[in-house]
Symmetry: C2
Subunit: 377 residues, 2 copies
């Protein structure tokens, strides 16, 4: 994978990841399209809000519709009508968060499907093979995502397994080729919970294998925000400058700015989509909840400063009505706006880095947001 | 209301209804936007599929968000971001089909809201007033929609009441003016169940009052299709040539063609939207259900001959997956396709009338459809 840094401001980087489906200008936020659909949106709407990469879930797509359907369809891009880059996660996180009766062994992990209870097994090799069939631009290795809290001993043993799995993933990936007319890249995942020593051990082992990029996993799973950012700082400081870094499953707008400041390039999170479907709207001055009675007669757009379709055509009063009456259009307009907000935040962050004014710009954003993070839960 | 007939083919008519929000080329199908939203679609998608008029429900909008919110928003067009014509029904049908404890009196009808059980009353006058506040282009009078079956005596008394209510509606409408910068028209509603004598009595009483157009109500409520079309023929034969005719709540593609043949100009029905949300797709060769396992690997578009966004970008296999996994995009793509199909059917019908080849064209369509009406239920 080609990765160029186009601008730096202290630890923050403005980069470009090259893929055969086009460039990803970083820092970048990846909307989550778990089941080959970014919930409530169409591919052309994602293009309209300048989305340059999305994330899909190996675990979900393996269960439904099955890798065979996607292979027969000519890969995930064709299947879902999306011709820009796709990153697929490895299923590690989902196996540990969604499925029942998981059993971790050296060979891999056995689990029961959350859909129908059927028993399946993922190995580092099978997960690479599935992602070859999906044809994602960026493939993630199978990892064990440690819960929070977990003991230092558990975290060390778990990370050692994740590293051994990474070795096997690397070798399966090298020994196989893409099934479609485009190249794929492989990212490893740093684990180690909140223990600096284990995180360092994880990074050092993985960079020795020279992956195309590095995910930082096992965060945003319940640990305090300060602990998360300490680990991010540590990992980013140890990871090679010339490779992209991806903070998995993070986060709020403030989290993203904190991550960018520490040298993170890629993010994904369900917050803008999931919270949008609950009527929670991100604005430059903090989140609002459209179900609130105060918006009944509010004829202003969701966010005066926003350039999205929702804000350009509809009032808060109308959106509140759509949510009150459970109209699908409400979910759509809120999701579209929230993702536009996230994409705009990333574009603004990139410009601030290029202009070497990231720190003051970030401070201004945080003051505007007033850190009303409590509403995001 | 201006109404011009541009072409005739036996009883079928190709017309243009003029409104201050633009022309409606008839025959026309009105997508149903019950609660100020055509379920799952955005206004720009409705424009894309060449929708020239939609229907909204007075009953639902009166309850939520309330006429006051819509008035404060500058009318229904502005509220919902739709600047083409809107017809609002009177609420008569909904009071009789959705609400509990309705009590019909000479003055009007008392009912309990299906949302919260609160008690309300509609009178012919209040329903005109509400539609003035909504600012719909076409206003419908309050009527009693008779159930099927009902006795001849019930139908006669009910229709006499509906006619008296029409007189009061006419007079309230004439004595009031529009609240926004556009004109409104008033349509009456013919009732009389399946009894020709009462239907005739209804039509004669209503045309004497000279409305802008005439709805034919109380059909598609359970009576046999033949009985429905006999009543349609009868009413269309009695209604004035120079006024638009609207067959309310109808129907399947075959129903629409049958109605057009008998001289109907306007239709509305929830079938394309509601059935679309259940995975039922209209095609030129009859309906298909996307949940069917046979489509798991089907890489063809929903309908090869269709020009809609859904058919141009996605396979049956993908749509089936979206329905299997309950993704909102499935509801959207199916609805968009179904409404496109209905709009295209109306455009084709209009062209066939203009070219004086409606009957053979209709026969060809019905043969293609194979009258697989059983799947529409």
């Amino acid at each position: 994978m080609e990765y160029h840094i186009e601008g730096r401001d202290h630890n923050a980087r403005a980069g470009v990841l090259g893929t055969d489906h086009g460039p990803i200008h970083s820092p970048a936020f990846m909307p989550v399209g778990t089941q080959a659909s970014v919930k409530a949106l169409s591919p052309r709407e994602l293009v309209e809000i300048q989305t340059s990469v999305i994330l899909c879930n190996t675990y979900h797509l393996y269960l439904r519709p099955g890798a065979d359907v996607i292979r027969k369809s000519g890969g995930l891009h064709r299947f879902m009508g999306w011709d820009k880059p796709i990153l697929t996660d490895s299923g590690g996180y989902q196996v540990f968060s969604l499925s029942a009766l998981r059993k971790i062994e050296e060979e891999g992990v056995q689990f029961r499907s959350h859909v129908d209870g059927s028993v399946h097994r993922f190995t580092p090799e099978s997960v690479v093979d599935i992602q070859r069939q999906l044809g994602s631009d960026i493939v993630m290795v199978l990892d064990e995502c440690t819960p929070y809290p977990c003991t230092e001993e558990y975290a060390r043993n778990s990370n050692d397994l994740t590293v051994r799995w990474a070795t096997r993933s690397r070798s399966r990936f090298a020994g196989s080729g893409p099934l479609y007319q485009h190249n794929q890249s492989l990212f490893a995942i740093v684990q180690g919970s909140v223990y600096p020593e284990i995180r360092e051990r994880s990074v050092r082992a993985l960079i020795e294998m020279d992956f195309d990029g590095y995910g930082i996993g096992g965060l945003a799973v319940g640990e305090p925000a300060d602990a998360m950012m300490e680990i991010v700082s540590l990992c980013a400081g140890l990871l090679p400058e010339e490779k992209p870094r991806y903070l998995m499953g993070v986060g709020t707008p403030a989290n993203l700015l904190d991550g960018i400041e520490r040298g993170i390039d890629l993010f994904d999170c369900v917050l803008p989509t999931r919270n949008g479907r609950n009527g929670m709207i991100f604005t430059r001055t903090g989140p609002i909840n459209l179900m609130n009675a105060r918006y009944k007669f509010d004829l202003s757009p969701i966010d005066e400063a926003c350039g999205c379709y929702s804000c350009g055509h509809f009032t808060r009063a109308y959106l509140r009505h759509l949510f009150q009456t459970k109209e699908i259009l409400g979910l759509r307009l809120a999701t579209l706006h929230n993702l536009y907000y996230y994409q705009q935040l990333m574009r603004d962050a990139r410009n601030a880095i290029m202009d070497a004014r990231f720190a003051p710009w970030k401070e201004e954003q945080l003051q505007l947001l007033d850190r009303q993070e409590s509403m995001y839960a």
